[in-house]
């Protein structure tokens, strides 16, 4: 994008930098001019997670002078499968601290600016103002729309990437004449219509693939070289290893980047993403049983039927010897259950099984309870040998 490249003021390179970046300097597409642009460039990464990890590492290695990172999270063990900027020893540390250390390890010349905060409608515009390019590595719809709108309003390109299981999307949004995220998807899905965690998860290498595509696009924008992913979406299917491209058009009626925008300042994105839901996130009140009480009653030899409503692959990780009927199959398999027996339904954390108990009660079951906290609570309070996931 010419606008980004033009805004960036060249400096000079030290001998140390000339050596470090020599494989860039000897290619005409980068050269001294390009490397100076990279050095002068300021890129803001939203999130130091799956997408943020590879892209921050590569941008640092490539010699981007200033890397801002917005994150307020702490490294945990489940991050390590994909968030390669963090190491096992970093578990429990702030992601910002851990990311800075990894970046400095690769390239101590990078000026790392840490923003330990949640990106909000109150701080986004001020944050974005000081950067040339914003790279969106977030993982939820409210922040996606916030990043998009703030990029449009601040006039900063949004290098977009998103992943789900083994599929990814990448594009360059909110450039001067290009489409934005709202041109593409005017509205987020209502919370009730998204897959449950039974269909969640992400292939660990996928954020690597997509994050490196984002890093590539950010660098092209800074250099002003090549064909950026503007007006195009790249779809990545890691399982089929297929890359497809779709056209993405600027919508003249777009509420934020169209001819007559109705969104001229940042809004409440939680409300925007949540309030349109046909069903709110489940907080159904159903009869409950605590892990301790279940343990006591099982030890006392009470006749309790344990119904596990997770997926078969979750059952393989750990189980309470329950009878497995995945939540989605419950309506058609309800005849396998005996309504005269005491039933305790459980899942991983208690959310799916609350839905199962609610469903069973509507189906006439009176002696059914939800195990509060699911196998996680069981592992925490009854059997620490049971793995958590």
């Amino acid at each position: 994008m010419a606008t980004v490249a033009e805004n960036i003021q060249p400096a000079t390179l030290s001998n140390e930098e000339v050596l470090r970046y020599s494989r860039h300097l000897i290619m005409p597409e980068v050269g001294m001019e390009g490397q100076l642009k990279l050095k002068a460039a300021k890129v803001l990464c939203i999130g130091a997670g799956g997408l943020g990890s590879p892209l921050a590492l590569y941008l640092a290695a490539a010699g981007v002078g200033t890397l801002g990172i917005v994150d307020f999270d702490v490294v945990d063990f489940t991050n390590l499968q994909r968030q390669i900027i963090h190491s096992t020893d970093d578990v429990g540390r702030k992601k910002l601290e851990s990311a800075e250390e990894s970046i400095k390890g690769i390239n101590p010349l990078v000026d790392v600016r840490k923003f330990e905060t949640k990106l909000t409608s109150d701080n986004a515009l001020a944050l974005f103002r000081d950067f040339d390019v914003v790279v969106d590595g977030t993982d939820n719809f409210p922040t996606r729309y916030l990043v998009n709108d703030a990029c449009v309003l601040a006039g900063k390109p949004n290098v977009y990437g998103s992943i789900f299981r083994f599929e990814g999307q990448a594009s360059v949004l909110a450039t001067k004449d290009g489409p934005c995220y709202r041109c593409w998807y005017p509205e987020p899905p209502p919370p009730g219509l998204v897959p449950s965690c039974a269909e969640g998860g992400v292939l660990g290498i996928l954020p690597g693939l997509v994050g490196v595509i984002q890093a590539t696009e950010a660098i092209k924008l800074i250099l002003g070289k090549g064909e950026p992913l503007i007006g195009r979406v790249l779809l990545v299917d890691a399982l089929g290893m297929k890359f497809r491209e779709l056209r993405l058009r600027k919508n003249p009626d777009c509420p934020v980047c169209g001819k007559h925008p109705t969104i001229t300042q940042l809004i409440d994105y939680q409300e925007f993403c949540g309030i349109r839901g046909e069903e709110a996130p489940a907080t159904t009140k159903v009869p409950e049983i605590q892990a301790e009480e279940l343990k006591q009653r099982l030890d006392a030899g009470d006749d309790i039927f344990i119904l596990d409503v997770r997926e078969p692959h979750e059952y393989q990780i750990c189980n309470l010897n329950g009878y497995l009927i995945p939540l989605g199959d419950l309506p058609k398999r309800v005849n396998e259950l005996d309504s005269s027996r005491d039933i305790v339904a459980h899942c991983r954390s208690g959310v799916r099984s609350a839905k199962a108990v609610d469903f069973l009660r509507q189906a006439g079951f009176r002696k059914v309870k939800n195990l509060v906290g699911g196998v996680l609570a069981w592992s925490d309070r009854i059997d620490p040998k049971m793995p958590k996931y």
């Binding site: 789900f164 599929e167 998807y185 509205e187 987020p188 899905p189 919370p191 998204v194 965690c197």
Partner: protein
């Protein structure tokens, strides 16, 4: 014609990644798909029968909103792609499921 089913919707289409349906228009193709897999219907359409705003449909590489929408004619070798918005991370639930205790 061939309809490509995205990962998040495969559980509602017997886990298939593509479905072959006979159709003369995009609308016919989608109704052929949802009559085979009725669970898909509420994911693709609102209660009043409109395509949902977070589900985009592409005929080959073009968004049908910029063609003739559901009236767009299709040919045998064409591919229809359903592309829902994905937020990233591991889950799309906005904190409503057991992965995302918020």
């Amino acid at each position: 014609m061939r309809i490509l089913i995205p990962t998040p919707l495969r559980p509602y289409a017997a886990k298939q990644d593509a479905v072959e349906v006979p159709a003369k228009t995009v609308g016919e193709a989608l109704s052929g798909l949802t009559s085979q897999y009725s669970d898909l219907r509420r994911h693709l359409y609102t209660d009043d029968g409109k395509l949902r705003a977070f589900v985009n449909v592409y005929l080959n590489d073009e968004d049908i909103r910029y063609l003739q929408k559901e009236n767009t004619p299709v040919r045998d070798g064409d591919t229809l792609s359903i592309v829902p918005s994905i937020a990233g991370g591991g889950c799309r639930c906005l904190g409503g499921c057991c992965c995302c205790p918020r």
